[in-house]
């Protein structure tokens, strides 16, 4: 049985001199999201030599970043494959125009006008959290696939006689690449549903909560898992 997903802590840096960090802390408490909010008053705390290390997300207010917004945005894309989801908040001043131009073309950066609604902040945080989770699970899947590859090569060459593969996170069925690989739709769907249910149980931790999220009854969930 899949065990509950232990969420990797999400580190969010907020470059702001007002109450934005507190707002994000309040949102994550309300939603029970494990967010570690790092409050910074200057851009140099991020891009400087003693920077914060890996971040899950970055929030910058144009007022607090001053002339360093470009440096901050470049910092968020220093690793092409792991761009840091970023939220830039306007200051309601003329420099907003130049700041908004910097955001253009950077898909991982979202712009919000000054004094955004709490829902807008919450929505952005949910996206950043999801990206963080997606990356963590990708890393798990890649690690397991690599371990399987090494083990099967050792089996092939007879260096080992057997191997106990790790269970790993649930996986959906691969799609066929030739007609011979096509499974009947019923079988493929059943395999997918099983994996999907396991993923929901992993996320919610209990069968009761998982069944509510899945939109099926507890007994139906139990029957399908059996």
């Amino acid at each position: 049985m899949t065990t509950k997903n232990v969420r990797r802590t999400f580190r969010l840096a907020v470059v702001d001199r007002a109450g934005l960090a507190a707002e994000f802390e309040s949102i994550s408490r309300e939603k029970s999201w494990p967010v570690d909010v790092l409050s910074c008053s200057s851009a140099l705390e991020i891009v400087g030599d003693s920077g914060p290390g890996p971040l899950g997300g970055l929030v910058v207010s144009v007022g607090a970043s001053g002339p360093f917004l470009t440096d901050l945005l470049r910092w968020t894309e220093s690793t092409a494959s792991q761009r840091v989801p970023t939220l830039v908040l306007g200051a309601g001043r003329p420099e907003d125009e130049a700041a908004a131009r910097m955001v253009l073309g950077r898909e991982h950066v979202k712009w919000l006008d000054p004094e955004p609604a709490r829902e807008a902040l919450s929505e952005w945080l949910a996206v950043a959290l999801e990206v963080h989770e997606v990356r963590a699970f990708r890393s798990d899947h890649d690690g397991i696939a690599q371990a399987m590859r090494e083990a099967r090569m050792q089996l092939f060459h007879g260096f080992i006689q057997n191997y106990a593969p790790p269970e790993g996170p649930p996986v959906g069925p691969p799609l066929p690449t030739t007609t011979q690989e096509i499974q009947p739709l019923r079988e493929a769907r059943s395999q997918f549903e099983r994996a999907h249910i396991q993923a929901a149980v992993r996320e919610w931790g209990s069968l009761k909560d998982a069944s509510a999220a899945l939109g099926i009854s507890y007994t139906s969930l139990w029957r399908r898992l059996r």
């Binding site: 999201w33 989801p85 898909e107 979202k110 949910a126 996206v127 999801e130 990206v131 989770e133 997606v134 990356r135 699970f137 990708r138 899947h141 890649d142 397991i144 696939a145 399987m148 083990a151 099967r152 089996l155 092939f156 007879g158 006689q161 191997y163 106990a164 593969p165 790790p166 269970e167 790993g168 649930p170 996986v171 959906g172 069925p173 691969p174 799609l175 690449t177 007609t179 011979q180 690989e181 096509i182 009947p184 739709l185 079988e187 493929a188 769907r189 395999q191 997918f192 549903e193 099983r194 994996a195 999907h196 249910i197 993923a199 929901a200 996320e203 999220a213 899945l214 939109g215 099926i216």
Partner: protein, 233 residues
């Protein structure tokens, strides 16, 4: 008796992957009885040509091939030409023919010189575990690929959708965070849509796709009409 190791079988079952090991024999009819004694009647079949082996390897997820030593080299070349990775066990009775080292250099997993269940069993176990690990590896790599597509979508950069590469067209990944779709019906519909799309790409007609999918043509047509698929016109 299952030739797969218990640990591997448990993990395959945990992921809902059908566990039906199969052994294909090519050019070594003398090994059929010994193999069937290990696998059971239905889990071993003979293939007369390399093309039949290729087809058989594609049709079974957990498969190993036992081939006559003189046919092993050409067979492996045929499998490589189709990008198929499978363990081939060569059977050579007598001392004539290619050496064990030569056969390994061609890509043979191992060589048996005595056709008996006792000699074949450890090699078939290794070969089938190899195939099972390959199946699991593929499943994890596909899931990783789906997650990558999801990441690109979340960051506002839609994944490439104009490519002919089949691996690009993937259903949504399993849910992982607060925004994911957990509702089983919605997620299953999305998976089915992607699955049917893929099968349609592979088949020459909707009728053929329906046969492969195990549904009636009428059901498939109704489904395609509901989704407004262009191939329905």
């Amino acid at each position: 008796m299952s030739l797969l190791s218990a640990d591997t079988e448990t993990v395959l079952k945990g992921h809902g992957i059908p566990v039906r090991p199969h052994v294909l024999l090519h050019g070594c009819p003398e090994a059929l009885d010994a193999v069937r004694a290990l696998t059971g009647e239905d889990a071993a079949s003979t293939a007369d040509t390399a093309a039949e082996v290729v087809s058989g390897v594609r049709a079974h997820r957990v498969v190993a091939v036992v081939a006559g030593a003189e046919l092993a080299g050409p067979l492996i070349r045929a499998l490589n030409a189709e990008n198929l990775t499978v363990s081939v066990i060569a059977v050579r009775q007598g001392d004539e023919g290619s050496s064990s080292a030569q056969l390994r250099a061609q890509g043979v997993m191992d060589l048996v010189t005595e056709v008996s269940a006792a000699a074949l069993e450890p090699l078939l176990r290794r070969g089938l575990d190899f195939a099972a690990l390959l199946t699991l590896e593929l499943a994890h790599r596909c899931e990783s690929r789906r997650l990558m597509n999801r990441e690109l979508e979340l960051l506002g950069q839609p994944p490439e959708s104009m490519s002919d590469d089949l691996s690009v067209f993937q259903p949504p990944p399993l849910p992982v965070g607060p925004l994911s779709v957990y509702n089983l019906d919605e997620a299953s519909e999305a998976f089915e849509t992607a699955y049917i799309d893929r099968v349609q790409q592979l088949c020459a007609s909707a009728r053929e796709a329906a046969v492969h999918l195990g549904v009636s043509s009428a059901t498939l047509s109704r489904r395609l009409r509901r989704e407004g698929s262009p191939s329905d016109n």
